[in-house]
């Protein structure tokens, strides 16, 4: 594992790819690898791109990669697509739009299937970002589909979120008002070459205006972009740069990252406790019998649960 970690830090492509697979497959050594890489993380800017299917996220990512490369930055992309809930298979097509960078050795693109995690963001995505950060990429772009409320996840793993919206979403604007709009730092109205873009912009600004009625200076930027016609990119890049500057100078970035670690800790502790319950308490083998006892009214449910838990914890600590 030390060799793998060292090669990742040295930026060796094969090692980076292997490290991500290790995390994705939850293979032996995953925790050790993340621990070894940890001292090397925290340097990359992590940029999320989210929005409804087909909004132009990948096309936009392709242009953002080009912009970063012009500045001499090394860029990595993690593009998450949903796995089929029926077969577990996935068709990962985001990369198709970014293949113009396929031969650039300072661009690393990785497609990931959500593997059953709603909204596509999973622990594996979090780990992949860490691997890429440790490997020395200046910018890591994470593309996910925003569906319903699950996309809230993306704020938890990125420094800045671009929410991509497109005209003609119809009812979706309603859902947006109900919470999705909480998640964007910068609102990108893509496909501005199409009809309805100005109307959408007005609607978005209207909603944001409500949210920030008393603090207009905090209002999020809204950028009109046409990824297809390559229009509006400079303005978007400038807004993103400014937002980053603001975040780091104000100390908000540090705060954001610490909050991220807090959420991660909670998630990991919960997962480990769950595992303990499953393995040590042998929950799944016992549960039928316990249910029977409760059904037959042989025990009081809460009393039984609290006593079992107490006994289990006592046994564990001995």
């Amino acid at each position: 594992m030390r060799d793998l970690a060292r090669d990742i830090v040295l930026g060796k492509t094969r090692a980076i790819a292997r490290g991500i697979s290790l995390a994705e497959n939850d293979s032996l050594g995953r925790e050790e690898l993340i621990d070894l890489l940890h001292p090397h993380t925290g340097k990359a800017r992590i940029l999320g791109i989210t929005g409804p299917p087909g909004a132009g996220k990948s096309t936009l990512a392709d242009l953002l990669i080009a912009g970063e490369r012009r500045k001499g930055h090394k860029v990595a992309v993690v593009a998450v697509d949903p796995s089929s809930p029926f077969t577990g298979g996935a068709l990962l097509g985001d990369r198709l739009r970014m293949q113009s960078h396929a031969e650039d050795e300072h661009v690393f693109i990785r497609s990931m299937a959500s593997r059953g995690h709603l909204g596509g963001v999973s622990r594996a995505t979090v780990d992949a970002i860490k691997v890429l950060d440790a490997a020395g990429f200046d910018t890591v772009i994470v593309e996910t589909i925003g569906v319903g409320q699950t996309e809230v996840d993306i704020i938890e793993l990125t420094d800045l979120v671009l929410l991509v919206l497109v005209p003609g979403m119809g009812d979706e604007i309603q859902a947006m008002k109900a919470g999705v709009m909480e998640i964007g730092d910068i609102f990108v109205i893509n496909k501005s070459d199409k009809e309805g873009a100005d109307k959408l912009r007005t609607e978005v600004e209207y909603v944001l205006g409500f949210k920030y009625a008393h603090e207009m200076e905090k209002m999020n930027p809204v950028c009109m972009v046409s990824a297809k016609m390559k229009q509006g990119l400079e303005a978007l890049e400038e807004e993103a740069e400014e937002w980053f500057q603001h975040l780091s100078l104000s100390g908000l970035l540090e705060q954001k990252r610490k909050e991220r670690i807090q959420k991660e800790l909670k998630r990991i502790f919960s997962a480990k406790i769950h595992e303990l319950l499953d393995k040590k308490m042998d929950f799944y083998n016992n549960v039928e019998e316990w249910a029977e006892m409760i059904y037959q009214k042989k025990v009081q449910p809460y009393r039984f649960i609290n006593e079992s838990l107490h006994d289990f914890l006592k046994k564990e600590s001995e």
């Binding site: 790819a17 068709l91 299937a113």
Partner: protein
Amino acid sequence: MKEKKLRILIAKPGLDGHDRGAKYVARALKDEGYEVIYTGIRQTAESIVKTAIQEDVDFVGLSLLSGAHNELFPKIVELLKENDAEDIVVFGGGVIPEEDIPFLREKGIQAVFTPGTPIKTIVDFIESQRND
């Protein structure tokens, strides 16, 4: 232990612009439960190899209709080897004359599927190569 999820890159080297067959195979393999990465038409050998390595795939499936398979397929196998990635299994498909197949097999293309091959045959091949 649960089986490892296999990842497959379906790539189209060469200059022909017809990707119906490649897309069909990509979708069919997805339906079989594999994670399939599709990168579109006119990919250079270099970009296919770089993609395969970054995506850490187990298989690369090449599709070609333009007749350049005898140069391009072996070139990709060669480049994978140069990048210490010879463990990635390469198979090919498309319009490939029967008499070219032995040559391609000799050059390290592990299987060649001509048009009309049932998807089951490809799946059986993939499963036979599973190495975990």
